[in-house]
């Protein structure tokens, strides 16, 4: 272990970790929006919306995130979409994780709706009232943990933007591996930072989960 080297380069890794955090926050935020819209579409009364929701999930989950990212970043200009690498990363990965979150949210809503929705309807609530007042609040609690799994995956997923040269953790590690020939040290340094981010996020999700469970 070359500690001297680690001490010399770690500030650059900290900077890169900050970019990874920004990417994680923004992609997750966009993912949650896409997920909510996707779930709403998949559970809609309208066949067309259901079809569009299903197509979104199937196409995004059926192809590599890397290809989606390349298509947006390199192919975008051909159809009039000009984005810098960071923007493309956020939008591409956000849309990607949104498809997985769609299924998570849909699963939670369906599992609550089975018993609780019917019970609420028998009390005379309209379908919309039953959804808003009974199903949704419970489903939101139910989806925190599985969304946490999606978010955990997405933090690691942000590494893909290294392939379009966004200077985040994996890109930085790759660059220093190339210039120092110390792959193990660079892996450990960036790896520990990833795990710190994931650990902190995990704690946050567990806290949130325990809070809503008390209510």
């Amino acid at each position: 272990m070359d500690w001297e080297l680690i001490l010399k380069v770690y500030p650059y890794f900290l900077e890169a970790a900050w970019v990874t955090i920004q990417l994680s926050v923004l992609t997750v935020a966009l993912g949650l929006v896409c997920g909510a819209l996707g779930a709403a579409a998949r559970l809609s009364r309208f066949a067309l919306l259901r079809f569009l929701g299903a197509a979104y999930v199937s196409v995004i989950r059926g192809t590599p995130a890397l290809i989606q990212l390349f298509l947006l970043y390199f192919g975008g200009p051909q159809i009039g979409i000009q984005l810098d690498a960071f923007e493309a990363g956020v939008i591409g990965l956000g849309i990607n994780i949104g498809a997985y979150m769609t299924e998570t949210m849909r699963g939670a809503i369906i599992s609550v709706d089975r018993g609780q929705g019917e019970a609420a309807r028998t009390l005379g609530l309209s379908q919309f009232q039953a959804f808003r007042k009974v199903v949704l609040p419970q489903a939101l609690r139910l989806m925190i943990r599985p969304l946490g799994v999606n978010i955990n995956a997405q933090i690691k997923g942000t590494a893909l933007v290294a392939a379009i040269s966004v200077v985040e953790l994996t890109y930085t590690a790759q660059r220093y591996i190339g210039s120092t020939y110390k792959p193990f040290e660079m892996f450990m340094l960036s790896g520990l930072l990833y795990m710190a981010i994931i650990y902190a996020t995990g704690k946050g999700i567990t806290y949130l989960d325990s809070r809503v469970r008390l209510q």
Partner: protein, 218 residues
């Protein structure tokens, strides 16, 4: 610039060859991740402390870091210690190990969940503990997790695109090759996406079949 798909047919054989390499790397890595997953699960649960603890640390590192980073470590790390593997082999090892760790987590949970009466029944017939694990407990655990392991294999197919960055000539790299010559990224990435989607559908169909086949024995 607009879109022009007329350049695609000339590159179709390159793309299809890349698709075959993607299938080859996915299947090789899937086999490695399956066998490795069983092995890792047994190590994590039953190996002596001195083996188990370092192994758990390794698993924890692999679960907490991006695949792309691991690929860089394996590819450049092996070169550093003097092992110059072909990119394909390094890619299979990287993908295979990464998913072996995830499969191992599933299998460990399933092994622990196998009813303890199964071990007892095997032991009363005279089987040793390791025979009972090998013949009774582990096969059941593996069968129980076939659906989630199948999902991991689908994820593996999509993550196989990442090995293009260490120079494995699979589907993604083939598309990039065509793009380098034609400057038509949208068209070729779209074609690559369609190829992945088709392979994905094929894999899902095969996995559903395996699930149905093994349903009775669960």
């Amino acid at each position: 610039m607009g879109l022009d798909f007329s350049v695609v047919p000339g590159w179709l054989d390159t793309i299809l060859l890349g698709g075959l390499w993607t299938i080859a790397i996915t299947l090789s890595a899937a086999v490695l991740s399956f066998v490795g997953g069983i092995l890792f699960a047994v190590i994590a649960l039953y190996a002596p402390w001195i083996v188990r603890q370092p192994f758990r640390l390794f698993a924890w590192l692999f679960m907490g870091t991006p695949l792309l980073l691991q690929l860089f470590l394996i590819y450049f790390g092996l070169i550093q210690i003097g092992i110059n593997l072909p990119a394909f082999v390094a890619g299979v090892i990287g993908l295979g190990l990464h998913f072996a760790v995830y499969n191992s987590e599933l299998i460990q949970t399933a092994i622990v969940a196998v009813d303890k009466g199964q071990m007892e029944a095997a032991r009363t017939l005279g089987l040793s503990r390791s025979q009972a694990l090998r013949k009774v407990v582990v096969p059941q655990a593996v069968r129980d997790v076939i659906p989630p392991i199948g999902n991991n294999m689908i994820a593996l197919l999509k993550d196989s695109a990442l090995v293009s960055v260490i120079g494995v000539g699979e589907l993604t790299l083939s598309a990039q090759l065509a793009i380098g010559r034609t400057y038509r990224p949208f068209e070729f990435y779209l074609v690559a996406a369609v190829c992945y989607y088709i392979i994905n559908l094929g894999m899902e169909a095969v996995l559903r079949r395996i699930e149905r086949r093994t349903a009775l024995s669960r």
